[in-house]
Symmetry: C2
Subunit: 520 residues, 2 copies
């Protein structure tokens, strides 16, 4: 069907997406200005965050983009199966954590673990996810003037030709942005009903898990495990290495990781580290897993297994037509301008490999678009801020204390709780999100650390577990990674909005004027 | 008693503070290095945030400070009666708001308004507040090496002499930082039992309010009213002007204020604007108030009245000894170096007038300290970020859209929900803290606006109601108020931590490359 020029509302888009996703509407949805023909400045194959943001920037620069997407909406896996449901579940985990801890105090009733349902939250997400989808379709068409073909598979014919919806479109440049999917680990039993990955968990769950095993020690594994545990469901994480040590370019500080892991332990989330799942057990469906642990072989009962074991790229729509260079894991190789080995062909998003983070996806797409429009733009994603959720928001940027001590002669830190104290020795840090804990369970408020090179006086690393600081780390990361950096004196001279989730400005002010910086 | 050199722990300080505050320990607590005599580089009269931070900086710069404080702890009214309880109650308000909205859904049971008790939260705060107090005493003594006399009234004899704890201390410089208290409005009945201000509410409440009137339309009035209402207690705000229009140096954007007020209405918080309380009614205790409204005279039943009607400075400890210049409201007049009209006498904190914000208090104290130590430092507090709580965190900095349109020829905005849409037309914005609402009550997620001068491409104003953005506004305010400013292109080039509470980076990226900027 053709919707070009229809000025459809968000509500109208939502109805259309619901019809298409349910299969009621089988045909592609075209938002293409036929009057302008079928040649484009760039075709984005895949309308996730890389394709959509790339197309928006190309249009802003005066170009004509086309986005082709198999799902009936733009935005990709993030609002459909990844970041958005993950954020919903993490908020639920935080609220459930508080509902359990505070039960019987203040207005909190006795916590009923049977009332907290993983399935109900998944169903809530599934029933409402087309709302954000519709917003993105509306925004792309109405506000950003992006032409698109959605609810249609793309078939790349060559570097200048893409077929979709029975039509042939030509282009000066091609941006491949088809994303990634779970890499199956190759364990016996991995295809049994009851074994899920992040996508099938959202799409297919139809029962309430009673005993959960999560395979993997990555951020995603820990995030979902924390959510499951917060609902009251017994949960075990099985990880080859210590959890949260593989990481991306930015590693977690030892003390930050220590706090986070200790808080997971205190919620009875079982972590089996240096352990490998050797078999998933069950006849008709999952009944358990067999694990090789440092202490020997062990069988764990489970009616639900989540695979958090990495990703592989989606190349089916173009692999046969384009002789691209791939890395050893199968991801498409690009340079810092997002150019592949084929002239005029770019790649962006999860297709070019980890870190599978939104900022990378969006910026790689916009970097491709700018280069296509003649603006030499580069993107290096080796110095990034990072975050994860447990029942906390955990955010970090720059160097860990250990990395800083390897690099600089004199390193000082500012920490809350102070250096040498355990959580609970003081109710600080407290701010929005940790106030109730501060006055009831002070060991639960959070942890923060600022790492400073005492000679240059520059902030070189920032680390936070708590609530409400994630947003700030975007700007703090920008400030500390500028060539001129950010000194403790400049930080201490800013205006704070007390009580702020990160105590960095206030505590920097206490040390800012000190000639010979000391830790605190 | 003398505690100098005792290396007391936070727990030890807490016991001492509890004893002193209960009256069990009547004597002053001295943390003074007798070996160094009784002459100081600066004496800070008042150990609130201005005095404590000023003393810390003076010590960092190599000076010898003494802080004299009537309460048995440093930190002042903030952790005792103001910012900290306010943050606790605002977090409770946010949780209660969600508990009511989501009752009967997910794991939320039917909301029981009798279970949510204002009194219980006040008692929780009162029972635990010495925890943060103890942290500050410990930090001041052990980490910051600040000498102090607490649990002792100061008597200023002249610009160089202060008596406290039966001792006489001399100094080169004096910093007055004795804070402020509520200015009584002069209404008949204002001294009846059941009439409270922010301080007596914390100290004296001993019953559960059933029907509340808040007098005033300031941030504090609205914050406490929102909390009371969130507990399920019928609450009326009586304000001379429209609420939240008096403000400080930074005004609220009309649309931001519109969202916030509409959300208060939707929670059945009654706002009587352009109205004046003419009498507080009652014999033995408060029974109601008489209000002159635009629609005529009205009597409102109430068993609890909160005065949110402004502040006056505490000058008793020095007024007779020092011929200071005061402004028309009685606040001490200082220049941008915090110097009073008397040589060597400085003033800081709430004593120098509104805005009564922590960043002003702390920076005015540290500005005084730096000048005393020979560093020419100035502090102008006319361009500040600001915030308040309702059941939302509301934060703003820079210009409102209206102010920007008065100043610049071409102003564009980026808004979520988009320009022309009402809350609920889209579930966006959503991020930490608004995810559950996004999937259940999309009209409750929040509102955000970025104001841009299209010619310079600079961000000139940022406005947010939601959760989790307050921390970021500290750094965003710094970035947009630097002389070189922050362009939409620079903002769009930052690394985001998706989903972030403010959508500024992501949405800026969608418009960043546009030659002729348009609103969205």
């Amino acid at each position: 069907m053709d919707v070009y020029g229809s000025e459809m509302s968000i509500a109208g888009w939502r109805r259309l997406i619901d019809e298409a996703y349910s299969g009621e509407l089988g045909e592609p949805i075209l938002n293409v200005d036929e009057a302008r023909g079928s040649h484009f400045d760039a075709i984005f194959v895949g309308g996730g965050s890389a394709g959509r943001f790339g197309a928006a920037v190309l249009r802003s620069l005066g170009g004509r983009p086309l986005v082709v997407e198999r799902w009936p909406f733009l935005g990709g896996s993030c609002p459909h199966q990844a970041c958005v449901p993950h954020h919903l579940f993490s908020e639920a985990a935080r609220e459930l954590d508080q509902a359990q801890a505070l039960q019987g105090r203040l207005w909190y009733p006795k916590f009923d673990p049977t009332a907290a349902s993983v399935l109900e939250l998944v169903e809530l997400f599934r029933s409402q996810r087309s709302g954000p989808h519709a917003h993105m379709n509306w925004q792309s068409a109405q506000q950003l003037d992006i032409e698109s073909v959605v609810n249609a598979e793309a078939a790349v014919r060559d570097a200048r030709t893409v077929c979709a919806a029975g039509r042939t479109f030509t282009t000066d440049a091609l941006v491949l942005a088809t994303g990634a999917r779970t890499a199956m680990p190759g364990i016996e039993g991995e295809t049994l009903p009851g074994v899920f990955d992040y996508a099938s968990f959202i799409e297919d769950l139809d029962y309430e898990p009673r005993k959960i095993v999560v395979i993997g020690g990555s951020k995603v594994a820990v995030e979902y495990a924390s959510f499951y545990r917060a609902t009251g469901t017994p949960t075990t994480v099985v990880s080859r290495a210590e959890v949260l040590t593989s990481g991306g370019p930015a590693l977690m500080d030892d003390d930050l990781r220590g706090f986070v892991v200790e808080q997971m332990h205190s919620r009875d989330l079982e972590l089996l580290e240096h352990s490998v799942v050797t078999r998933i057990l069950g006849e008709e469906r999952v009944e358990g897993v067999e694990v090789q642990t440092p202490a020997g072989r062990r069988v764990i009962d489970a009616d639900f297994v989540l695979l958090g074991t990495g990703e592989r790229p989606n190349t089916a729509s173009f692999a046969a037509a384009l002789p691209l260079t791939y890395d050893e894991r199968g991801f498409v190789v690009v340079d810092s301008r997002m150019r592949t080995n084929i002239d005029g062909v770019y790649a962006a998003g999860d297709l070019i490999g980890p870190p599978l983070e939104m900022f990378k996806s969006r910026r790689s797409g916009t970097t491709a678009a700018r280069n296509i429009m003649g603006i030499a733009a580069e993107f290096h994603y080796d110095d990034i801020p990072d975050f994860l959720h447990t029942t906390y928001e955990v955010t970090w940027a720059g160097l860990t204390e250990r990395q800083a001590r390897e690099r600089y002669d004199r390193v000082v830190t500012i920490q809350v709780p102070p250096l040498g104290m355990a959580p609970g020795d003081t109710p600080l840090p407290m701010a929005e999100g940790s106030m109730l804990y501060g006055f009831t369970f002070p060991e639960r408020t959070g942890y923060q650390k600022c790492v400073i090179d005492a000679d240059s006086r520059r902030i070189v690393g920032i680390h936070h577990a708590g609530y409400g600081a994630k947003d700030a780390f975007q700007y703090l990361h920008h400030l500390i990674s500028r060539p001129e950096g950010l000194t403790i004196d400049q930080l201490g001279d800013m205006n704070e909005l007390y009580i702020s989730s990160d105590y960095f400005i206030g505590y920097a002010r206490l040390r800012a004027n000190q000639a010979d910086l000391t830790s605190m």
